[in-house]
């Protein structure tokens, strides 16, 4: 019974991580399992500067994020065309390299801090990211 609940929670966490907009309401019923989610409007609030990331939702229970250690370009693989460090569904351990941030031609390895399953790659390969931006969501 609790396994079922755990699985439901993991699924909800994945949905939250992949959510395109903040979740306004979440309802989880346990008997005859039912999950209901309601998203907020996707329009950004006025006066929020374009480049400022939206604050992560605080209801992402069980999720840990690998964040950018510095402002730079995010790469998923050691070299162009090579296999990415991790894919969604992979299991990572603390200290494992999961990405690279390039800043002024210096390659900075990005490591997972917590063990768990990669549920979502949040940043696009080759895209510039800010300091602290969430790159990868990991379910512990």
């Amino acid at each position: 019974m609790t396994d079922e609940l755990d699985e439901a929670c993991t699924s909800v966490a994945r949905l939250l991580a992949a959510s395109p907009a903040p979740v306004r309401r979440l309802r989880l019923q346990h008997g005859d399992l039912m999950v209901e989610m309601e998203w907020a409007e996707t329009a950004a609030p006025e006066a929020a500067p374009a480049a400022v990331p939206r604050a992560p939702e605080s209801s992402d229970a069980g999720l840990a994020y690998v964040s950018a250690p510095m402002v730079g370009v995010f790469y998923r693989a050691p070299k162009p065309g090579e296999e990415p460090f991790v894919r969604e569904g992979d299991t990572v351990r603390p200290g494992q390299q999961v990405a690279i941030i390039e800043a002024m031609k210096i390659m900075i390895p990005v490591e997972a801090e917590a063990a768990g399953e990669v549920v979502k790659i949040l940043a696009e390969d080759g895209s510039p990211v800010e300091y602290g931006e969430h790159l990868i969501a990991v379910a512990g």
């Binding site: 480049a51 402002v71 730079g72 800043a103 800010e130």
Partner: protein
């Protein structure tokens, strides 16, 4: 003209630069550290990039973070403000290597003027008066003693890589020379990452008078008058004004001309400041050249009507200055007070915390440059400057009365937050300041 400018700074100066960008139709990009997540410039600028954690060396002092932020936001130029990377020639080089225009002097000019001892030699060669002292780093305590014997006590020991009055030591007694020299070297290493120091004769009761210059890339060099910054505490400026009061016009003319001569000799480009000491005999001596916008630039703006940040941007974009020397007029008197989040009752201890009430003064001819607001958290990570209050009036008497009124209006409250506003008001009322007979020794 630039389409976009990244502001590589924080606090009130970042807001100040963003305002001019907006007026010029230039997209402004703010950068912020984690400690400044809720800072005013993040809201005021068109874009904002989170560049690092609170410590300066990983955010505002990190060239890679700034350059990557510029790349991310598509900035064409970088305005460094004051402090942080504003006088770092290496950073200016890095900007150039990354196709970013650094809004400031060329790196080689900055490198030359960053060495304060070499600057003295360069300016002496250009015919500017300098104080007796060394034009190179003093290598040993014995050399420090020999120099002091030659030029006479008291001496002031300064960092070659220094500036802004930080880490300077005055030695009045020959017996304290060795200790003073060694302590200065240690302080210089800690503050500037360069232990070299030089010696200068210390003028006991002098006025600090600095000249604002503008130079373009087409050989145009002008001055915008001077500022008196004699009200200092431990070599930190508290009150500045323009024009300098109580000095003969003929002397001021000579000081202004000297600054322009110095700027030409250095091949200066951009906005720069030539700092002089004026002695009791109306003798004047060049101290140092600052290759950046100064904290106290608003007093010059108020008496000349010139937006210095706009001029900096136009010059960096390669435009020819439209302003001619004969167009520059100093109209009226402007006084600036630096309101810091410090407690004068506890030896000016910084008082970081949340500002719950923030009611800046306003009204006729009062300008307040600030990044503060009700609910703003003064972070403990940076300097304590919270606001600059600038008052303009047709004459000094009215300007002082206006400043007194403005400081009295300033309502700042917060758990543990104290400011220097009441202390500044007392200084404005000081008989020596009121009669313009004050010098750098006013507070001691």
């Amino acid at each position: 003209m630039f389409e976009s400018v990244l502001i590589a700074n924080r606090g009130e100066i970042a807001v100040r630069v963003a305002r001019t960008c907006r007026e010029m139709g230039i997209r402004s990009i703010a950068v912020y550290s984690t400690a400044d997540r809720d800072s005013a410039v993040v809201r005021i600028a068109d874009d904002a990039v989170h560049i690092g954690p609170a410590p300066g060396r990983r955010s505002y002092l990190s060239p890679p973070a700034i350059v990557e932020a510029a790349r991310l936001a598509g900035a064409e130029a970088v305005h460094p403000g004051y402090g942080f990377l504003s006088e770092d020639p290496d950073f200016a080089e890095i900007c150039a290597a990354n196709d970013l225009t650094f809004i400031g002097p060329p790196p080689d000019v900055m490198a030359r003027l960053a060495d304060k001892a070499r600057t003295r030699a360069l300016m002496a060669a250009a015919g500017l008066p300098i104080l007796p002292g060394t034009t190179h780093a003093v290598e040993t305590p014995a050399e420090a003693r020999e120099t002091a014997d030659r030029i006479g006590l008291p001496v002031i020991i300064k960092a070659v890589a220094g500036g802004g009055g930080r880490g300077v030591r005055v030695v009045r007694d020959a017996g304290e020379l060795t200790t003073g020299y060694l302590e200065s070297r240690a302080a210089a290493q800690a503050l500037f990452g360069d232990s070299r120091v030089y010696l200068e004769r210390f003028l006991e009761s002098a006025r600090h008078v600095e000249v604002q210059v503008l130079a373009d890339t087409h050989g145009g060099v002008i001055h915008l008058g001077e500022r008196d910054c004699s009200v200092q505490r431990r070599h930190q400026k508290l009150i500045e004004e323009s024009p300098a009061p109580g000095l003969p016009d003929e002397l001021l003319d000579r000081i202004r001309t000297a600054a322009v001569t110095g700027a030409r000799a250095a091949g200066y480009v951009g906005a720069g400041t030539f700092e002089f000491l004026v002695g009791r005999e109306n003798d004047f001596h060049l101290m140092e050249v600052n290759c950046r916008l100064q904290v106290e630039h608003p007093v010059t703006e108020m008496v000349t009507g010139v937006d210095l940040v706009r001029e900096q941007i136009l010059i960096a974009a390669g435009e020819r200055m439209t302003l001619r020397q004969e167009d520059v007029r100093l109209d009226g008197v402007a006084i600036e007070c630096r309101v810091n989040a410090e407690d004068p009752a506890r030896d000016f201890l910084p008082t970081p915390g949340v500002v719950t009430t923030f009611l800046p003064p306003g009204g006729q001819f009062v300008r307040v440059d600030t990044h503060g607001y009700a609910g703003y958290r003064v972070p403990p990570d940076y300097d304590s400057l919270l606001a600059k209050v600038i008052a303009w009036a047709p004459d000094r008497e009215q300007a002082m009365a206006r400043m007194r009124r403005a400081l009295g209006e300033f309502g700042i409250e917060g758990q543990g937050v104290r400011t220097t506003a009441p202390y500044l008001r007392d200084l404005i009322d000081h008989p020596l300041f009121r009669t313009a007979k004050h010098d750098t020794g006013l507070i001691s």
